[in-house]
Symmetry: C2
Subunit: 385 residues, 2 copies
Amino acid sequence: MNVTKKISLLVAILLVGIGLAACGSLDNSSMSSSTNNVTGEKNKKNTYQTTGSASGEYAGVIKNGRYVTSKSRGLTADQNGNVNNTKSFESGLQDVSKIVFSPSKYIFQEGQYLSTDTVQDWLDRKSKSNPDGLNPEDNGSKDSEKRNPIYLQALEEQDYMEKSGTSLKLKGVTIGLAMNSVDYYQKEQYGAEYETKISDADIKAKSTEIAKEVLKRLRKKSEFKNVPIVIAVYKQASNDSLTGGTFIRYTNNSGEKLAAWKNLDYKNVIYPLGNDESSPNSNDSTAFDNFKTQVESFFPNLSGITAKTRYKGDAMQGMSVTITTQFYSETEIKSFTQFASTQAEKYLPSGVNIDITIRSSDDVQSFLSRSAKEKSFSSHVFSSY
Amino acid sequence: MNVTKKISLLVAILLVGIGLAACGSLDNSSMSSSTNNVTGEKNKKNTYQTTGSASGEYAGVIKNGRYVTSKSRGLTADQNGNVNNTKSFESGLQDVSKIVFSPSKYIFQEGQYLSTDTVQDWLDRKSKSNPDGLNPEDNGSKDSEKRNPIYLQALEEQDYMEKSGTSLKLKGVTIGLAMNSVDYYQKEQYGAEYETKISDADIKAKSTEIAKEVLKRLRKKSEFKNVPIVIAVYKQASNDSLTGGTFIRYTNNSGEKLAAWKNLDYKNVIYPLGNDESSPNSNDSTAFDNFKTQVESFFPNLSGITAKTRYKGDAMQGMSVTITTQFYSETEIKSFTQFASTQAEKYLPSGVNIDITIRSSDDVQSFLSRSAKEKSFSSHVFSSY
């Protein structure tokens, strides 16, 4: 990591802030704006700023007075029938990147080198008119077992930069491949929706094939010739899932040949568990049930309490609880928020990022949050003047 | 304040929690659940718990295993054409109560002694069938200047309790009178809406009249015979206002004769200011404009930045900023949240409770908050698994 002292200083300034941990945390963060308008009139193209950063998070790039938005990101969003897939694919890809590109050394830039057209061609089926398609040719079959499904649903580029002289230089790139576990298709336009299920074995085989091809293509582009290329594979959840999918493995490549995969053992679990479902850790399930029972028995007018959780192996990494109320009064919301806090501290697992959102049918009324490091919940009631 | 040592201990336990300041704050709060199931089977009716409390906030009452909801509160909600009035009437009434009934000594209970029927009768016009109506008789006129308007739009009771033996005892009550500044009426059912404007002088005269009558009626009820009765007057904002109204004065009564009014100098201001509007403090207006300009110039795709603020005299007490974005990507939201934090610390007034909600068209994406005592913003990005 060839980091100059200047960079270290910049990073130190950026990281005065503490808190804002990856997901679900609500630390006290003092973020510092770092304006690096180091170039003069002559070199205006290289003028950049960063968004400021916070512990464990990347600073983002502001160039020529504008936040640099993704070149191809919209593609992902449009094509997903489950919005949780889109959100967790994007934020999860950053989490995988953190393993390789430390937020304390690198600045995050939304993908800039693969254009919308390129990514669209890659995501389409291979055909005479689209030789670059990474999805298989249409074999004409409409039978769910015999047809060639769409394996690759979305592809996202994320750039990791370092300061070089007066500008930023690309020092690494992460490519996310979102693989379908179910491919939804129609037999005729506007017709009923059918499904082709894709096995885990197929996801692995196809993602390896696609990763090899993507790596080869990227190495041909001058920007990507000599930088580390991380390729991470995401398994999409089905459209009827209440959570998004998870990243299942990644590979960190320095050369042209695909390096060995490293497995990622994530799992998303919804509480309360259904009848035929199990938790990686039955204590967590019991803890949630106790919390739910306590809160429901003491407060009338609750419509439901559910939690989305993320596991790594059998260790919970994050929990996001939603409580839907039929309250109206602000005093009731305040009292309920306080009560929920006491019960959450008593029953919910410690050492885990937890957030609890209390909402009425139309909007968020209040929310509570505790990071893995904290002992007590912070809370906020949305007030009105 | 006849507080026994036992009570002090209870209060001390309740107030282990710190933070959760009145509005807009997001302190770290450690709330303690205080279960006071002190009575046995014989006396089950008096079994109560509290919701737990936090610094500067009331603990609420849980009785017989249920949070005690308001007897008459629904009335307020139904009758307001401006939902901000309802919310700020209820939370503002608690703020006025804090002047008289300290949250460190009293436990808050939603109003239990005036029934829905009673309050409904009081809010209706006086008539042969409803001699208790506090609003004037219908004089038959449909002319906006000649008719008798509805002066009293809503009435709310809040009870302030202390522990007495094994149960809670009413030690004070606050009555909020929400007075119309505009009365909306129809000349025929389902017809167009007309307005009768009500002057500040009329609001004062009528609220004094109504307060005297309410005090007289409450003193006849055994529960209210010997407790302090605070009556607070709220001036409703018009239906087209983007904020709610404000409390304009209150009176703290120990006897049967209405005590002197004390004025409350609150004002709600929306930023950016309109052309013919002014701010109680022009520095605040400039500060907000600078913040808005900075944020808008650096991030594309923002739909709007507005702030609701509360003033006491010319001192800002709270600011609630809403930023509407057209972002989709979670990485963009993260970067933007970080950037907004640096700009808010740079430009927005210090020593004031500030919260900033970042939302897309459909939901809250992230939010930032800083209490008056804090120097830096806390932030939370709503993640998805």
